[in-house]
């Protein structure tokens, strides 16, 4: 495909890979060339919009595209979901954050919960590239929400799926799948988990008992993503860190998850208010006009 006619930040492919979960390929040749596993971008959809951090799930340097996968959970991500192929994001800054530290651990296990399976993908790719034997675990509430099974499966020597309701794979949580692997005697030397904060906490609690080094990718509320505002501060080993520049990955055994969850809820009332206004406009046909 010729890319000459493309504008920066233009969407060249869009797929709904699960309900309210979208795969976008966007044209940004420079970020496509530079990005490393574990990094993210900050985007804005339109004037007046929020700055939204999203993980760089992959890229195609030849086509000059980067892949973002996101779940439409609130106002900004719903607005993002309304864009179509040919539309362009207003802004995209990156690649931000420290790249994942990659080495050959022997056997490594990557765990993705919900949309967190997407950020796991580039890290799995890098761990694989470094020669690790790789085990993947995908967790989701129900069968329809399991994403990227094929993509992650092709990188892993073994892939487990766990659903809360048992509609697919093992019934239970990702921690049940991980505990079973450990019980089988699998010699896991490194765990990386991305997903909802309670899930990352549970994984870290489990691996702590076995002394398995564990990294988690934190997603506090961010503004600039460059270390300028301090809004993304998290506590690791009793010290304050800025997740956007010191992370987003940290040692799961040292993270204060309690604080993270509280801080993630800082603007719940405002988020609800703006989502309601938005729904109201949609119903009134203002936005669709």
């Amino acid at each position: 495909m010729s890319t000459e006619h493309l504008r920066q930040n233009q969407i060249v492919a869009k797929r709904e890979i699960a309900p309210k979960t979208y795969w976008y390929d966007l044209y940004h040749p420079k970020i496509a060339r530079k990005r490393q596993a574990g990094q993210f971008v900050v985007i804005r959809v339109h004037e007046g919009g929020e700055r939204v951090p999203l993980t760089l799930v992959g890229s195609d340097p030849d086509r000059g595209t980067v892949t973002l996968i996101f779940q439409a959970v609130g106002h900004s991500t719903m607005e993002l979901a309304r864009l179509e192929v040919g539309d362009a994001l207003l802004d995209m800054a990156g690649p931000l954050g420290r790249p994942t530290h990659i080495e050959n651990h022997g056997t490594a296990c990557v765990i993705g919960g919900g949309y967190g399976t997407a950020p796991v993908l580039p890290i799995a790719e890098a761990l694989r590239g470094a020669g690790n034997r790789l085990i993947g675990i995908i967790g989701a509430r129900t069968r329809g929400l399991v994403i990227l099974e094929k993509e992650l499966g092709s990188l892993c020597d073994r892939l487990e799926v766990a659903t809360d309701d048992g509609s697919y794979g093992r019934k239970g949580f990702v921690t049940d799948a991980l505990a079973a692997l450990i019980a089988e005697g699998t010699d896991i030397r490194f765990v990386l988990a991305v997903g909802p904060t309670p899930m990352m906490r549970a994984v870290s609690e489990l691996t702590r008992q076995y002394g398995i080094p564990t990294m988690v990718s934190l997603n506090p509320i961010m503004v600039d993503g460059t270390g300028m505002c301090g809004g993304c501060r998290v506590e690791v080993d009793g010290q304050t860190k800025f997740a956007c520049v010191d992370g987003p990955e940290f040692d799961g055994h040292l993270v204060n998850f309690d604080l993270l969850m509280k801080r993630q809820g800082a603007y719940r009332a405002e988020e609800r208010q703006i989502a309601e206004n938005y729904e109201h406009c949609r119903i009134a046909g203002v936005l669709d006009a």
Binding site: L90, G94, P95, T240
Partner: protein, 476 residues
């Protein structure tokens, strides 16, 4: 008829929005001179042959020159005169600390009130923007040299303009989605309306400068890559002092505790004060406490008031005499009902079960012997702690150097605080072809000092690229 020179007349006062009204909006507080007021004020200037005022201006604005034109009513010409050396006159007329830069040196200040240089600068710049024909930029022969500017604050913008005027091809890389640095994310709308900044930045586009936003240098390209594969011949680093400082007291990560950078960025850059029209939220506290005594603290306190706080308290650990903020800002804040709690040190922030801030423990201080800086050292009074209910705290105790460039540029010398070491006379750093200036070199300073550094570096970069000493600044 008595021949009293107008310099004997009192300085023209600045009309302002009354305090009770202005705390309910984000519109500008000073309303600006009328043409008549401007001409009357300009007439006070003695047109000194050796103007002392100019020596106080880091970019050497031709002050008698532009004031003389203002007196004649030639406002557009007056503005163009300033623009020969200052690309942001409408900004500087508003935010320069004139009382310690140019006006303090005005001969009239010896016996009375100095000429209102800043207010006149603001007036003619506004007049030119609103009434003047769009300036046409005379083409300069291209040198074929390419310069990258990292950061679009006053230092970067000034350097970019000066280099473009000398025929170099200039690209500005800015990490955020808007241009202007602190001028756009820090200084509030009621002191510097964004549309005025935007118009001044547009002039750079007219000069042919390539302005790239959302470009984080050190991540997207490193300085090495800019000088290597990206094909730039020189780089000017003007990344500012954008690292927020916290106090390291218990409770600082509670919900409702902000750095001044975050609080002001949410309100200004993200326009949270227009929540509903813009999507980014901000906590609107009922009882807000701002910690600090500088300009940034005043801006945060006045912003909190406008966001609807019932009470805004400013806690400062020294006394009023030591407050580093401009007198005008302290005055404005007081008029707006900001309560100053002096000789007060927050020692702990208290939260509820949900991790939300509910109070602050404050300790009384007293002044002891002067320290190295000559200011009397604040000493804690044991047993004086008391708790005060607050639901938002803004920490405005200064900023440090963002390590992004340092960490990604091997060989770049920095001092023990992480600021880039640069030659005062040229801005040259430890790496050939890499120059630096503004807050990333000096630590937090002023807009006009950053612009002065941009100017100095532009002259040195020109020399480095062409081997020619630049024509005398401002003579063009």
């Amino acid at each position: 008829m008595s021949e009293v020179h107008p310099s004997k007349q009192p300085r023209q006062p600045m009309p302002e929005q009354p305090p009770a009204e202005r705390v309910t909006n984000f519109n500008e507080v000073p309303l600006g001179y009328t043409p008549e007021q401007a001409m009357a004020e300009a007439a006070r200037c003695l047109q000194c042959k050796n103007p002392r005022c100019v020596t106080g201006c880091p970019v050497a604005v031709d002050i008698p020159g532009f004031i003389g034109l203002t007196k004649e009513g030639q406002f557009v010409e007056a503005a163009r005169k300033i623009m020969e050396t200052n690309v942001l006159p409408a900004v500087c007329g508003r935010v320069c600390p004139q009382e310690t830069q140019c006006e303090i040196l005005c001969v009239l200040a010896r016996r009375g009130e100095p000429v209102a240089i800043g207010r006149l600068e603001r007036f003619v710049a506004d007049y030119e923007r609103e009434h003047g024909p769009r300036e046409t930029v005379p083409p300069v022969p291209a040198t074929g040299k390419r310069v990258a500017i990292v950061g679009s604050g006053p230092a970067g913008l000034t350097c970019a303009a000066d280099l473009a005027r000398r025929g170099h091809s200039v690209t500005v890389f800015e990490a955020l989605h808007e241009l202007g640095g602190v001028l756009v994310y820090g200084i509030p709308e009621f002191r510097l309306p964004k549309r005025i900044l935007k118009a001044e930045v547009e002039r750079l586009r007219d000069l042919g400068v390539d302005l790239q936003t959302s470009a984080v240098i050190g991540k997207l390209d490193t300085i090495e890559e800019l000088l290597g594969p990206e094909g730039f011949d020189a780089v000017f680093v003007a990344t500012g002092a954008g690292l927020p400082k916290f106090m390291d007291i218990p409770g600082e990560n509670l919900l409702g505790v902000y750095s001044a950078n975050e609080f002001l960025t949410r309100s200004n850059l993200m326009r949270a004060y227009e929540f509903g029209k813009a999507d980014t939220p901000i906590a609107r506290g009922k009882r807000v406490m701002v910690i600090g005594g500088g300009n940034v603290a005043m801006d945060a306190a006045r912003t909190a008031k406008r966001l609807g706080a019932e009470r805004v308290i400013l806690a400062y650990r020294r006394s009023r005499e030591e407050m580093p903020a401009r007198a005008e800002e302290i005055h404005h804040a007081e008029e707006e009902g900001i309560e100053f709690h002096l000789l007060t040190l927050p020692v702990k922030l208290v939260g509820d079960e949900q991790g939300r801030l509910v109070g602050a423990v404050l300790r009384k201080m007293e002044l002891g012997e002067p320290d190295e800086s000559g200011r009397r050292r604040p000493l804690e009074i044991p047993g004086s702690d008391y708790e005060s209910p607050v639901d938002v705290v803004v920490v405005a105790i200064g900023a440090g150097a963002n390590p992004l460039i340092k960490d990604t540029t091997p060989g770049l010398e920095v001092n023990k605080w992480g600021y880039i070491v640069a030659d005062k006379a040229t801005g040259a750093t430890s790496i050939p072809g890499v120059y630096a200036g503004g807050d990333i070199v000096t630590g937090s300073a002023t807009v006009i000092e950053a612009m002065g550094a941009g100017r100095t570096a532009a002259a040195a970069i020109h020399l480095y690229l062409t081997g020619e000493a630049p024509e005398r600044d401002g003579a063009s």
